[in-house]
Symmetry: C2
């Protein structure tokens, strides 16, 4: 039913092989024939059959993207935005899979991508261990890890530095004189959580402040952020004078909890966010926040991947292991301790 090369060949009155060459911009085809073939193809609305081409051994011009999909709503949106936009102009389709933070779906995703013969993979989910990565390495399928590192696996990756981000935020508060800083982190087992905790502790140590486990709480949703803040500010003595929020979104319930406790920001409590979203400068007061280069991470990831695919396998490849540095944007939600 669909138009094939044979149809175009018949209409243009040349052989199938000549038709193929004409359409693929080969130079061993007379201008006159090429014109006729192109016209016929246009007329029949011909499109190449990718499966046939790939079966012959050509690249599939398809990439895989395995998302983790449990981090904040905005995370994937920001990270993937640049990915599609760079892939499309290069003629690549992207098959997107979600692991939903589960090993089973992650394994299925790898299987799907393998079956689809993708030319490369961007990976933001490594729940099932290094085996799938090893498979890709063994089979020389290029891939780049996004926001992840895997111990024992040498490969390309682009991450941001959550430890440094938390460190910068904590140091900022310590420099302002704060000593009782409530640290709100995400899911307890999550790798970035451990990084951030380490950054918090590093800053404390640098200022000779003892670490108080009570000051660390774990939450990730709006509801729990409100409750945890509300409870912690009442329970902990002396009361924290500053809060390192989980991210800018959960800063909103934090603000409300403080408001409900009649605590003013920043007079009574300083607050620092993470991610520096577009609305953060417009909170009341404007939020001091750590900007992580999430968008940059996605963009660099796909660029490295495409670069790697474009290279012949013979050339030596220097592993790209990039850690993007966070930046603290100071606004009005943080002030010196009186």
């Amino acid at each position: 039913m669909p138009v094939t090369l044979r149809d175009v060949a018949r209409l243009s009155g040349v052989s199938v092989s000549t038709t193929s060459r004409a359409l693929n911009d080969r130079m061993d085809v007379s201008e006159e024939v090429r014109a006729r073939v192109l016209e016929a193809a246009r007329q029949l609305n011909y499109t190449v059959n990718l499966q046939a081409r790939v079966l012959k051994g050509a690249a599939s011009k398809t990439l895989g993207l395995i998302l983790y999909n449990t981090e904040s709503l905005t995370f994937n949106a920001v990270m993937t935005r640049g990915i599609y936009d760079i892939a499309t102009p290069h003629g690549y389709s992207i098959i997107v899979c979600n692991s939903n933070a589960g090993t089973e779906m992650e394994v299925q995703a790898h299987q799907m991508l393998r079956q689809n013969k993708v030319d490369g993979v961007l990976i933001n989910s490594v729940e099932s261990g290094p085996a799938p990565l090893q498979y890709l390495l063994d089979n020389q399928i290029p891939f780049v890890l996004l926001n992840r590192r895997v111990p024992g696996v040498t490969c390309d990756y682009v991450t941001v530095d959550y430890q440094q981000g938390e460190y910068l935020a904590a140091r900022h508060l310590l420099e302002l004189g704060h000593r009782h800083i409530l640290c709100q982190l995400g899911p307890e087992s999550h790798a970035p959580t451990l990084d951030r905790l380490a950054g918090y502790q590093r800053a404390l140590a640098e200022f000779g402040v003892a670490f108080t486990p009570e000051l660390v709480v774990y939450s990730a949703s709006a509801t729990t952020s409100y409750q945890l803040t509300f409870d912690a500010m009442q329970r902990i003595h002396p009361r924290p004078t500053a809060i390192l929020a989980y991210n800018d979104e959960t800063t909103i319930p934090v603000f409300k909890a403080l408001s409900d406790l009649n605590l003013r920001i920043p007079t009574d409590v300083s607050v620092v966010g993470q991610n520096d979203l577009s609305f953060s400068p417009f909170l009341v007061p404007p939020l001091t926040s750590v900007a992580q280069a999430i968008h940059e991470m996605g963009k660099l990831g796909i660029e490295i991947l495409l670069q790697k695919i474009a290279m012949s396998n013979q050339e030596p490849w220097q592993w790209q292991q990039i850690v993007l540095e966070p930046k603290l944007n100071v606004r009005l939600s943080t002030v010196p301790l009186p």
Copy 2:
């Protein structure tokens, strides 16, 4: 280099055709042979070559998703979340394309999906007119429109009702006695914008309030929302007593603009948002907002698409044209006019 059916056949000592039947769970294969084949396949880590299968005429088990990608960061995230999660268990891969609200990239997306022989398409971007849809209809490729309707094209779609959403919000304010309601809409040419404007006007008409063009402003970003609110509340006399914000995200700059003008919420100005995000109940004051069933829209869309694909083309198909109703969640950011 990759393992093929021939390799499995050789190892299990049977023919290629028998191997194929064994792996495809056909019943005309002896149990003993099937076991041997499966074991050989496992041992060789065999995976079927999808391109070959599709070339033979099988379904590609691949769907296309064309996103518009100019709406808020969260919109795509919420809508697509359910899509992947339903497609994967059904064995479908999804090729995601972004039109970026441009006709050129949209056309390219359709081309890519056509080349990839997708079994169906979910479409949230119809910038280049009805031609690509007509192509899909002509070639019997199932598709479902998400958040879009196209005049003159009869097809399946799932949308939410922006007009009704704005109507509900406006009516709520009118019932509270407000008569000067600032209406903040998105990009001026955007279809939802026109719907929302109509909803606003319908509510006004119902209460016998004259429509004042001056009270309608267009914005979509955090920065412009702040400035537009700040300016409008100073410029317009009598000053609006209520604001219909563009969405919950831009509500944040609206709150700040009002705060900077020393206007209290809700005492001086009532505010209604759109989307009812997870953080909205935690704004200060908690935001009255219109919830649109964006997630439901994605979920229904993929379900209808899969259903349609599963049906033999012979059965009659009843067009699914679904408009999901919005819901107004009243909180503390709106009060009766004194």
